[in-house]
Symmetry: D2
Amino acid sequence: MAEKKKVGILGASGYTGAELVRLLLRHPKIELTLLTADRRAGQAMGDVFPQFAPYSLPRLTAIDRIDWPQQQLDLIFCALPHGTTQTVIKDVLSKIPDVKIVDLSADFRLQSPEAYAKWYGHAHLALELQSEAVYGLVEVYRREIRKARLVANPGCYTSCALLPLIPLLKAKAIEADEIVVDAKSGMTGAGRSAKEEMLFSEVSEGFHAYGVGQHRHMSELDQEFSKAAGKEVIASFTPHLVPMNRGILSTIYVRGRRGKTAEDLHAALAQQYEKEPFVYVLPFGKTPQTRHVRGSNMTFIGVAADRQPGRAIIVSTLDNLTKGASGQAVQNMNLMLGFAETLAIDLPAMFP
Amino acid sequence: MAEKKKVGILGASGYTGAELVRLLLRHPKIELTLLTADRRAGQAMGDVFPQFAPYSLPRLTAIDRIDWPQQQLDLIFCALPHGTTQTVIKDVLSKIPDVKIVDLSADFRLQSPEAYAKWYGHAHLALELQSEAVYGLVEVYRREIRKARLVANPGCYTSCALLPLIPLLKAKAIEADEIVVDAKSGMTGAGRSAKEEMLFSEVSEGFHAYGVGQHRHMSELDQEFSKAAGKEVIASFTPHLVPMNRGILSTIYVRGRRGKTAEDLHAALAQQYEKEPFVYVLPFGKTPQTRHVRGSNMTFIGVAADRQPGRAIIVSTLDNLTKGASGQAVQNMNLMLGFAETLAIDLPAMFP
Amino acid sequence: MAEKKKVGILGASGYTGAELVRLLLRHPKIELTLLTADRRAGQAMGDVFPQFAPYSLPRLTAIDRIDWPQQQLDLIFCALPHGTTQTVIKDVLSKIPDVKIVDLSADFRLQSPEAYAKWYGHAHLALELQSEAVYGLVEVYRREIRKARLVANPGCYTSCALLPLIPLLKAKAIEADEIVVDAKSGMTGAGRSAKEEMLFSEVSEGFHAYGVGQHRHMSELDQEFSKAAGKEVIASFTPHLVPMNRGILSTIYVRGRRGKTAEDLHAALAQQYEKEPFVYVLPFGKTPQTRHVRGSNMTFIGVAADRQPGRAIIVSTLDNLTKGASGQAVQNMNLMLGFAETLAIDLPAMFP
Amino acid sequence: MAEKKKVGILGASGYTGAELVRLLLRHPKIELTLLTADRRAGQAMGDVFPQFAPYSLPRLTAIDRIDWPQQQLDLIFCALPHGTTQTVIKDVLSKIPDVKIVDLSADFRLQSPEAYAKWYGHAHLALELQSEAVYGLVEVYRREIRKARLVANPGCYTSCALLPLIPLLKAKAIEADEIVVDAKSGMTGAGRSAKEEMLFSEVSEGFHAYGVGQHRHMSELDQEFSKAAGKEVIASFTPHLVPMNRGILSTIYVRGRRGKTAEDLHAALAQQYEKEPFVYVLPFGKTPQTRHVRGSNMTFIGVAADRQPGRAIIVSTLDNLTKGASGQAVQNMNLMLGFAETLAIDLPAMFP
């Protein structure tokens, strides 16, 4: 048997880090040889996530203690906060330029320096890397990802809206300037930092919208929608928080172009995704539930006719930690390291 | 002190029945003298809802056992299932024509016999009463309700969308044919009947849309939107289920007419509801949460600018069992019996 | 009408503060004239708890900005953290010695300076007040509370175990050295501070014990159990966290003394609490649910026979924010100010 | 590669059926060739559990339509309701006596015909099979299971209490007549049948005990505790329902015998389970959480000292659908078919 590839996770103490470990522990062709978490450095992974206590895993290290060349890493998952990520990755690649990186932050998702500066309020600190990075939505950029050194893993809200809409925009099957994306997310999408508004008692037994009108996720939507449509697209987008852990569901209101009906849109998506292992289009008129993709790398998409003639309602769902983050990241890794694309992420969803 | 009015509840073993009892137990001017529940007849209310075991309440009776004149009821709340309601009310009013009725079912909400037949698949069985019934949304029909014998309490989804949109449609401030209402409801909205899809393990930790494209609630929306706009209005409407007990939140996408901005829409709503005891308009740009109206009779409305010029996002929330059903019903009763409108329903929300 | 009494809340931005405001807004004989919250000073109560935005309430103040005599307060609720409370109350009483205080912290619950020092690791800083304070469990100390200046409102876990067990210990009906109290609490019992272990995603969809073997609540149990039994009692006690907002339920395993059966224990409790407005003993063999006391000031107690001869299982439940904290505090206030004991806290539970 | 074994599931439309499919879809040495569900016969598994829609699985069949010999099954999982199971299995084994069966119902768990008749109210209908059946708790009966034709998979509550207590009872390390097991379960333990008391709105945001004093699970506890202790053992046992989907946690109060301390009990368990793949004993004083075993086949056990000298508190947790049902069943299958014991059930827990 060939030697296993060495893989590290920067920022292993957050939820996407834990999800990476859950998936990678069962990957037959890689071994986890490095886990970092600055504030928890020195601790065992089982101290931070007790579910891993029975497993043999490297101790958590601080990033600035790492001798990069000595690690002999083949690939790094970077699950660090936005902002610091770009300096860390720049530094790592200066020391070990041959390593491959899948970045789960937002730092390398925007390809235009201007767009980045506008949405994040400062110039990007690693401009050459920004232009090198490939947007890691496998179903759209599979070919580029295979050859990439640095892949920017897409945002969870974004993936959930892009997968149903990109094929329709490319085919000019829907009006690009009448898209409404009403998105709902479970709480793990907000991460593991201790904030009052994320306490159980603030979140359970309730529902609310946030960032109404302006939200950074929109910049990613704009970029990919516009690229697909071949012209500038600005969609209405509202994120909401659901009192559940995992799952994103987007209800998307569109109008068909040139007489395209809801059935036509459904047929186009069904054909587009027929052979994709991680996208499933439900029969026409049926719509999906978050719970049926929980813990899996699947995206479920449903299309129904609106009662307003010419309009359709598309419902799309994925697990924000899996296909929306870490599962997508492993899918990217599999391509980048030449493995079968579905390796270790072919788990059925866990319902109930 | 004047004698208390005698009040009955038909269908007291469901959630809206329990909510009526919760509110009415503290009403200083009425006494509950009749509670019915056919399948639980003979039981104490505390057997069906243990929270009421410490209170003195009439035992549950079967409807067909009641000697109506002898009951000397002043007002009846009817919380029976759709369909049977119309024959029951017809029968009751034939025996005690002077009683006042607040009906919580959908049976008398549609005013057009044709619309009723279309959405419910059969002719209405009490056509004269259908034309007599007043639509019980107090903020819109207060004057008519004061004089009404039969009030059709509005649906929960409907109320949540009507309160923000009726004033805007009346003022012709928004485009009537571009309205998208994305609505999310807690589980009590689905009632207390034992169905697999309502089990805890089917519902918790997940989120989904249902009735996409076609849903009976739309008929009520159509009627009231069209009346307000003075022309036929057909909105896009999608209901969803949230893993929580109480609360409805609607995210509403609209386009201003004749240069009206989101700020203009906000100002119009703020002015409209300034003196209403049960509608609160948040400062511009802020949006409400279901938990902050839980158990209260309040509707909270927020308005924010969409980033697409000319468009606004309105978020409206109420407790589906209170302002969306039983609280609204008590508000109607207060008007019909000449009491202060806020009596017994001026409870602050319970959060957390 | 007599003038309303002036009441203040120190620490109004926490959950017990919000619960006090919810209850007191409807109290006909008091007005809230002072609300403090150091970190939120200057904000409106509606900024901190949006459900109160529609109400007229004083702005939040910092404690050290208050001119105490000028406030002319009749009673103060103190909902500050343990530890700082004793110095604040000492200071307040030095300036306005006639004010009455209901303290919701643990600072004045232990009556022995030694016990306090042992469990809290330092000498009490207001020893005279410690000896003056009355333990505010109304059903046990009603007479003392009426005359008290300073009342120490009991802990939520403690109240839930004391109400069923004190009468049995006083009557020597159970073995005092074989008591096991297995207690489960909703998350609001842990307060509103932002800690990782209290995040929604850490708490939902799971269950766990904490503080196993040693927990400060035990000191209160020891004190009151021992006082009732007339000898030292040390019970086994384990607290757990339930993914819900409100409610404590204790499952209590006891052995009858001198042939007392489970039925005997039930009869004793039923008789003891027959006339108490806030304690309800279920029929023998039935056990209560937290949801049926939610938002109310009730304690529900059930007694069933264990299958082991001579042993009984007692299940007791209350809402930790109401009877377990703020409702109990208002009950104390009502006695201290000479009002009817049930004023403003006679709300039925809110279920569902 | 050797041919895959053919495996069937009787009763695939319930939660344990879905959990078997989730686990077995990834088992490299078996193929699912038969799925039954009488009321859903003719439907696809993806109609009953949409998460399986993307997978290729046999359609659901009615049991009485099956030509057993033609199926050539190597092993059957029986996930049918208690009662009917015994006649179905008797019939199946009369037609294909060489098939191996793992039964997930309670029908073959009790080994004494008298105990069965007492707890279930009627004589067992397949007495020879009852005496043949092996109790399928692998960590205790591994050797017998390898050779068994019919294995009775243990109950979820039972497994959670047996794993920590059997070694201690065998070693006579604890008093056998002072055991209190306070058990809490997620809602999937109650199955998928539509009952009012299992509706989301009846269960969420609350907590309660049920079956207090008498519960059929006790018969299994009695049998295995007594066998381990070598004398009759009757423990106090109270089950509770937690508003979560998966997980059982038992808080167990014991007294050490002959001077055994909590540390001694911990050491005994740690040693006992050192090499077991599916039991993990936490460091002394730490206690586990249900969420850290969710979806995995692990049992986590913690031991802490009670403050009462000589007493200890043991906390044990497992996922009721995995180690408490279907994961344990696959573990049994792996042994019965000669596979590696951990095959397909070595998934790490899914948290959050």
